[in-house]
Amino acid sequence: MQDVLEGRVWTLGRDVDTDQIISGKYLTIIDPDELKKHVFEIALPEFAKQARPGDILVAGENFGSGSSREHAPQAMRAIGVGAVVADSFARIFFRNAINLGIPTIEAPGVRALFERGDTARIEMRAGRISNLRSGASVAFPPLPSHLLDLLEAGGLVEKVRRELAARKGREASPA
């Protein structure tokens, strides 16, 4: 994860729940490259075709509410979404997205600063998001260090892999 991220913005409203991100009929799909074709089919239908790696999603309050389906952030990761920013997140979505290594930032007031097609600049550690078109910006509390570590490692899989490998190493080495 880079400390400063820049990308083209897609905007979404408030209360975009997981049914609107990946609808129930696609839940048996496990291939992320297949899933990504259906992401935001209900909330933002052009996104799946037009999104480019590094694009940034800017949403209103309560983004990702509803079910625990990880299909939603998985499809976003498969597309290469650079970051997801929202006024607030539903908790399971937030955990899932961070666990998959997607920079996920809660910044109350951020949605009002952006229009579709703007360029956003996110300073992860300094805790600031700016609109490079309008010059407006908003501060946010930077993620706690253990979550930054998780993103740094590339997500939870890599973090646990290192932990288990270290454990094995300890067990293998003579006392």
Partner: protein
């Protein structure tokens, strides 16, 4: 109502007590990040997505196979090739790593009901599941919460989970529920207050004389829909009702905990349910709650009536519905689907003649599963249709197309609406 931020006491809430226990600490405070030992981990079909990250992590064994439950429920029996593949992935994984507690087709049920009726979650537990309504098990006096499959892989490997200690909202309820008014109406009333974002990252603790009077199934209904408030967990402190329910079925030792009398709550909501009418959540949000008699006056035609889901498909719910529909017919043009929450409940319905009561009335009585609840299996709506449902969500697209309109209500109200063919106050049929 206590204004937000008003300090109540200095003691610990129920959620704080349970998380302190899980983390092996004397006390924890909201905002603190703790590493908790998991007492129970549950997976349904979404658990199939746990297998790949589990292997990628280099994990070889599950931390404690006796604390892992797998329950198939969304597509049972498999209704698509995709679902069949998910089931097979889970069966293969369970065999490979040795997970004996597998509720497979024939012994299946909605995952949360499986946990409840088999005593898999007990007071004081930290329980996690790959489903957002895992909150239902908070009714046991546990912290029970949903996680995604990658996180579940880490839990299977390590038996631990990081959690931010949530602030607690206390919902104190007094008064008695009138005839034809149920725990579902009570939780819808709370949703009207708290809204879908009001309990984000928070625990909700239900207390007061009305809650103490509720049976375990009723407490399950209430904790289940706490998910719709955005909460991390919804809980009821354990009492003799809890202990009686678990006496013969608890799968591991209980650690009953109580909130301190001077616990610090972020906010307290006081409700008096005396004289409260039945409630209904109108499209397209579970917090769009209005008194049912008011909505009934609009004569909203119903195309489908669904009595099912983890919220309201226990034997008590089905008995309530059967009592209303016995000897009647559902209205022409209405399709009614009844789906019990587990195989034992199905069998109980068979013994009590409840299946026949519903099928005589013209309903479809299915095997136990999530059924029409989530728009991916059966009972899917056409775009312009209306469904009266005892489930918990009515977001756009929940039962298929985004235009379809779902009204959430009690089991009795679903049945009354099926009989009349329009959204109906069940008290008119009592």
């Amino acid at each position: 109502m206590t204004p937000p931020g008003e300090a109540t006491g200095h003691g610990s809430t129920l959620a704080e007590k349970v998380l302190a226990r899980a983390a092996g600490l004397d006390r924890v405070v909201p905002g603190q990040i703790v590493d908790g030992a998991v007492d129970l981990a549950m997976m349904h079909e979404q658990g199939a997505q746990t297998v790949l990250p589990f292997h990628q992590m280099g994990a070889e064994k599950v931390w404690d196979p006796d604390r892992v439950v797998i329950a198939l429920d969304h597509w049972v029996p498999a209704s698509t090739e995709g679902a069949a593949v998910l089931h097979r992935i889970l069966r293969k994984f369970a065999a490979e790593v040795g997970l004996p507690h597998f509720y497979d087709v024939g012994n299946h049920g909605i995952c949360h009901q499986i946990l409840a009726e088999n005593g898999w979650v007990v007071p004081g537990d930290l329980a996690v599941g790959t489903d957002s309504h895992t909150n239902m098990l908070g009714a046991m006096g546990a912290v029970a919460t949903g996680v995604g499959p990658t996180e579940m892989a880490a839990v299977l490997a390590l038996g631990r989970l990081w959690l931010k200690v949530p602030p607690t909202i206390r919902v104190r309820v007094k008064g008695s529920l009138g005839r034809g008014v149920t725990a579902k109406d009570l939780v819808l009333r709370v949703l009207r207050e708290v809204r879908t974002t009001g309990a984000q990252y928070r625990a909700v603790e239900y207390s007061g004389p009305t809650i103490e009077q509720l049976s375990m199934p009723e407490r399950f209904t209430i904790c289940n829909m706490t998910t719709e408030m955005g909460a991390k967990t919804g809980m009821v402190a354990p009492d003799s009702t809890t202990f009686d329910y678990l006496a013969k079925i608890a799968k591991h030792p209980m650690h009953p905990l109580q909130p301190d009398a001077d616990a610090r709550y972020e906010r307290t909501i006081d409700l008096d349910v005396d004289g409260m009418p039945p409630m209904v959540a109108c499209p397209y949000s579970p917090d769009n709650v209005r008194p049912l008699p008011e909505v009934a006056r609009e004569h909203i035609r119903v195309d489908q009536a669904f009595l099912g889901s983890c919220t309201n498909a226990r034997i008590e719910d089905l008995r309530e519905g059967a009592a209303l529909i016995r000897g009647q017919r559902i209205a022409p043009g209405v399709r009614m689907i009844v789906s019990p929450a587990s195989t034992p409940i199905f069998e109980q319905c068979l013994r009590e003649g409840i299946i026949e009561t519903f099928t005589d009335a013209g309903a479809v009585f299915t095997n136990s599963s999530c059924s029409a609840c989530f728009g991916g299996n059966m009972g899917i709506l056409a775009p312009d249709e209306v469904c009266a449902s005892s489930s918990n969500r009515n977001f756009p697209g929940r039962m298929g197309p985004k235009e379809a309109r779902i009204y959430l209500m009690s089991p009795g109200a679903v049945v009354a609406s099926a009989i009349r063919g329009e959204i109906t106050d069940p008290r008119e049929l009592l």
